[in-house]
């Protein structure tokens, strides 16, 4: 119950931050990506702002034997493996991000702010995830297991 509450709290703070920062607005995100046109650099500060607490958090994490409310850390281990899946996946994701100005966090966040548009995006996103699951489990059964390194 404690873990569920902490996850909910983390999600709420995350969603509130996305909303306050402007990142939940697809037009603003597309403006940020439009560096060859009417570039709006404001959202660079979102990444900068998010980095600060996390840079500190990783340093603290390195000194902890276990997290404060769970028995052990469950973190991506393989931080150096570069392969075609990583690159192709990132490239496809980037295209989708550019088309609508939405990545997964803002898409889900916008369910509260613009339900119809966001629901369409989120349903399609879950469809894309289901397609990935179907493709990997049928064609290469080992592939899904190989995704132990899950930054997600």
């Amino acid at each position: 119950m404690k873990q569920i509450s902490l996850a909910l709290l983390s999600g709420m703070l995350f969603g509130a931050g996305l909303t306050y920062s402007g990142m939940a607005n697809p037009a603003k995100v597309r403006g940020f990506l439009d560096i060859f046109g009417a570039w709006n650099p404001a959202l660079m500060f979102v990444m900068g702002g998010a980095m600060l607490p996390m840079l500190i958090a990783w340093r603290v994490q390195a000194r902890l034997k276990a997290p404060l409310a769970a028995p052990r850390f469950s973190l991506p281990q393989d931080l150096r493996r570069i392969d075609g899946k990583l690159l192709a996946g990132a490239a496809l994701f980037g295209i989708g991000w550019g088309v609508a100005g939405l990545c997964p966090g803002p898409g889900l966040t916008d369910l509260a702010l613009a339900p119809r548009h966001a629901a369409l995006f989120v349903l399609a996103m879950l469809g894309g995830m289901a397609l990935f699951k179907a493709v990997t489990s049928r064609i290469v059964p080992e592939a899904t297991k190989a995704f132990g390194s899950e930054e997600g």
Partner: protein, 141 residues
């Protein structure tokens, strides 16, 4: 400093704070694509589904509270439903294939100096920039 930049910075600090809370209390990376796949039963590995689901439910809940607090937010979406569907499919498939999105690779992975995440972030940024530039060239909204 323009007000939009200050909002971006403060909002970014909240996002990073949320990810830090997840990391230090639950020992997990706050990667939204991975968590949503787990919550929807579409991933074999990852956080316990209940935990993933409560994080995911938190996103719109926090947004709703923040919108009430600041008196509403203006959002502008692409005009066509087709754009949202195509984008959603690509984002869903791509983030699973590439094991992460803006939060997992961008916020959590880059701050950990993960080579994989830095490279993934550079690739999706470049591909997002190229997509917007090409759509503008083609006159697409």
């Amino acid at each position: 400093m323009p007000e939009a930049w200050l909002h971006a910075l403060v909002g970014g600090l909240m996002i990073g704070g949320a990810a830090a809370l997840m990391l230090l209390s639950l020992g997990r990376v706050a990667g939204v694509s991975g968590l949503s796949a787990r919550a929807a039963g579409l991933a074999e590995t990852g956080a316990p589904p209940g935990l993933a689901l409560s994080f995911i439910i938190g996103l719109p809940l926090g947004a709703w509270l923040m919108a009430r607090l600041i008196g509403g937010v203006a959002l502008h979406f692409p005009p066509s439903a087709a754009a949202l569907v195509v984008a959603g499919l690509l984002v869903g498939f791509g983030t699973r294939l590439g094991s992460g999105c803006t939060s997992g690779h961008g916020v959590c992975g880059m701050s950990r100096f993960s080579t994989r995440s830095v490279l993934a972030t550079l690739v999706f940024m470049a591909s997002g920039v190229a997509t917007v530039a090409l759509m503008n060239l083609a006159g697409l909204p």
